[in-house]
Symmetry: C2
């Protein structure tokens, strides 16, 4: 059937989508979600159809993705016909039935995800089925490989290549800003790519961006690494595993994360990592709640690494409260810089040198933690950080005070004496986000009381920082409702943790950071 | 934040969707699938956001659903802010985790489905989770009630109200066109609503439409039923269970049908049915494959009926081949009319009187099948059918030959002697659809050989009818590839059913008819 093109002047978010009116769709025997093959001159595209009640007859609406591909404009005549659904859709349906997927089938699915041949409905069903049924290690390996192979690779002519990754989940985790310079100062290569925040108040890329540019091209990254052994860049524009970026769009509203392992490890594969330490923050307020869960996840990372030719070790870390005393991009960058310069909180220093120590021992050094501490203490790590900042285009003389934080600030004090019994990661993250983080980089929370601290009536619990008065106000309102820090004279004085007076919606926290 | 409206001149298929450019979304801290509250003058709407890379800054794209609701046009300034996701989304997420859903939670989900507050991604996840985890009878009951309550009802001042429904799955099933007149001729009320084909070559509404109009309003239906005791109308426009129409859009591409029971029974509830016979065609080529499955499904229908105050009995029927000899709307209507006039195939007559007999016995008559046969033999059923046709606006004198079938026809013969060992429902349905059914009503297949028939070389196996030569050709090409009728001299001469030379995609048949 020949139809006249009506270009819509917007993108469909990457997918090839075409619109048909009800009558035209019915004549073609086509329903919403069916595929349509569209031919124009010597070009051809397959689009997923949305049927729209009022769309004019014998017209074909096309989003920009399709009109660009076919080079069609208003009233151009295209020839359309029903197209079979892609073979990969059958494997999506097989996964709903809990059938195991073979490597070739997973390859097809990932190829069609990247080429946008599967609709959001089909992706949602696939990810939901994976979330429910779980994945076998064969499937995880195949997904990791397929996701890396359909993206670009970073080829560095160096070996070994070290890397670090956190499965995410606690606010204020600025470990990488210390660990990367330590490893690079020890003479090893560590081309660290990071994400921006998705559900959290700050991702590593957001933090580093207050020190220097992070959106570097592959060529620029190579130059920085060749000069300094390391880098700290935003991975988003590199398309290391483009399928994952598409999956995240669907996982996010559903608050599911079935792809944790392949998502992380495909990117490690794409940058050619040979030795990776995986940080698994564990605790009530973290993504991983118990040591048992953490151990299982660690085993999976290690086995997957072996299959992919990457040596992996894991560090299970204390995740019951934020790391250090700051949450929010600029506040965290200040704290990281201050710590690498010899000050800063002990927990951050401890965690960074522990994980760096594991990496150093993995490549054959002895007493890695001690070496890492030495690199920190001697100022070599700081010097290396400044080299990296300079190589990425930042100011190597940057001082803590140069990092701008929000000039709207309010202090939250306590009205009782007592000991800090809990610090709620999720509540503090919410307050920092309400204050404007991560987009407003100067916004966030500075914690003055942490687990085990004794406070007196009138002492400061935390400060809220914001760049705008309205954000500060709404963050303070939220803070007043949440009580993110729990105090008691003695634990035995406060046994009731919460009271549930009637049925209520329990909004579960969800962390999606990679 | 204030944004300028850019109306898109198309519908989003019912949902409230708004488009934001990347930069504007980022400033608002909003991701794709987040909700945006949009205020204009005294009107307010919540829309689901799609983030589109190239969309202009500080503009808000809105599909017709949103622009109509807010009465906004180009460059109108609206105030937008982040809106929490609806509470029902948390119950969708709970179902992914296999938590049981309470009645109040299901009510909220169905309300938000009908009001389009859940996105396609969220609906796909919900239906996939239901397909995988299954539903408890409490959940099925709550879904059935909620789906009926969110739609319109047909209130007839009569009792009892009888109905019949098939779970679907075999081609050529024109039973209702005989059963409805039989029941109505017996003096009982049977306001039958039917669907059009979704995945099959003909739905009952498609068949009846070749006899008389089927798109009647609720008032017209009442008039027809008051005049004749019965009707045979298209249920689609009545909005008896609008949630189901939305679910079907998502189930269709995924080839899943977790809502079978609530979908059917919500509509029975909405028309006030008191006695329902459910036909469960069973066999290799049907939706339900084994008698065990059929029995389990029957038990569920009966229990659900009890909970909803509807008496249900089920008929498990032979489903290994098409019913009668015709497939396709007009060919089937011809066969139904011919059968009610005293001719026609025995299997159709047998099935219609058996199911009608069950219904008659359910309302207290004895020897129901015999009574049904008597109404058929005496011509009273035919007379009633003609009354219904007239009341719905058709020609009551309609003759078999008046029903127009396709004038393009080709005959498929056999090149061997033998007995019919199998008749493939799915293949025959595919051929009828390739010939143009259900949209081209005269297209379809006429079967001349059925199970157990002995044929000789040169005998006709089936005819293909089409309205257009191109469709006939492609249907014949398909028929030549499929071999829908399996012959053998003796069964023991043909033990190999199929040969699988290498791995291939097994496209599973999927029936979605309600």
């Amino acid at each position: 059937m020949r139809l006249r093109v009506r270009p819509l002047s917007i993108q469909a978010g990457g997918s090839n989508i075409a619109i048909l009116g009800e009558n035209t769709a019915s004549l073609l025997g086509i329903h919403s979600s069916d595929r349509l093959q569209i031919a124009y001159k010597d070009k051809c595209a397959v689009a997923i159809v949305n049927v729209s009640a009022s769309f004019p007859r014998e017209c074909l609406g096309v989003y920009e993705e399709v009109s660009k591909k076919l080079e069609v404009g208003t009233d151009d005549e295209v020839e359309v016909q029903f197209a079979e659904s892609p073979e990969s859709l059958h494997y999506v349906q097989a996964k709903i039935r809990n059938e195991r997927l073979r490597k070739s089938e997973i390859d097809l699915i990932i190829k069609d995800v990247v080429e946008r041949h599967l609709s959001d409905i089909e992706l949602a069903a696939f990810l939901t089925a994976l979330q429910i049924h779980g994945l076998s290690m064969d499937e995880i390996e195949a997904l990791s490989r397929a996701m890396a192979e359909t993206g670009s690779n970073l080829v560095l002519d160096r070996k070994p290549i070290l890397d670090k990754h956190s499965v995410g989940g606690i606010p204020g985790d600025k470990t990488s800003i210390l660990l990367v310079p330590i490893i690079a100062a020890a003479g090893f290569t560590i081309p660290k790519t990071s994400s921006r925040a998705v559900t959290s108040p700050a991702g590593t890329a957001d933090r580093v961006e207050t020190l220097c540019p992070v959106s570097l091209s592959v060529e620029e990254i190579k130059e920085v690494v060749n000069k300094t052994n390391g880098c700290m860049v935003w991975g988003g524009a590199l398309e290391l595993a483009p399928a994952d970026d598409i999956f995240i769009q669907v996982e996010y509203p559903l608050a599911i994360d079935p792809m944790l392992l392949p998502s992380i490890m495909s990117k490690k594969k794409a940058i050619g990592a040979t030795h990776v330490v995986v940080d698994i923050p564990t605790g009530r307020g973290a993504k991983i709640k118990t040591n048992g869960e953490a151990d299982d996840l660690a085993d999976d990372f290690i086995e997957l690494g072996q299959r992919l030719g990457i040596r992996v070790e894991c560090g299970v870390t204390f995740g019951e409260q934020p790391l250090g005393n700051t949450i929010g991009p600029a506040l965290e960058a200040r704290e990281a810089l201050s710590t690498i310069m010899g000050n800063g909180p002990a927990d951050l220093r401890e965690k960074a040198t522990s994980l760096a120590g594991i990496l150093l021992e993995m490549v054959g050094l002895e007493d890695g933690k001690h070496k890492a501490e030495e690199l920190l203490r001697s100022g070599k790590a700081e010097q290396k950080l400044r080299e990296i900042i300079e190589a990425q285009g930042g100011n190597p003389q940057i001082k803590v005070a140069d990092i701008r934080v929000g000039d709207k600030k309010e202090t939250i004090t306590t009205d009782m004496d007592g000991e800090v019994l809990w610090v709620n990661n999720e509540d503090l993250a919410k307050i920092a986000k309400e204050a404007g983080a991560p987009k407003e980089k100067g916004a966030g929370v500075m914690l003055w009381a942490k687990l085990g601290d004794h406070v007196k009536k009138g002492d400061v619990l935390f400060d809220v920082y914001a760049e705008r008065g309205t954000r500060l106000e709404s963050a303070l309102k939220l803070a007043a409702n949440l009580h993110p820090i729990g105090l008691s004279r003695r634990p035995e004085d406060r046994m009731l943790v919460s009271r549930i007076p009637a049925r209520s919606v329990h909004r579960k926290a969800f962390t999606l950071e990679r």
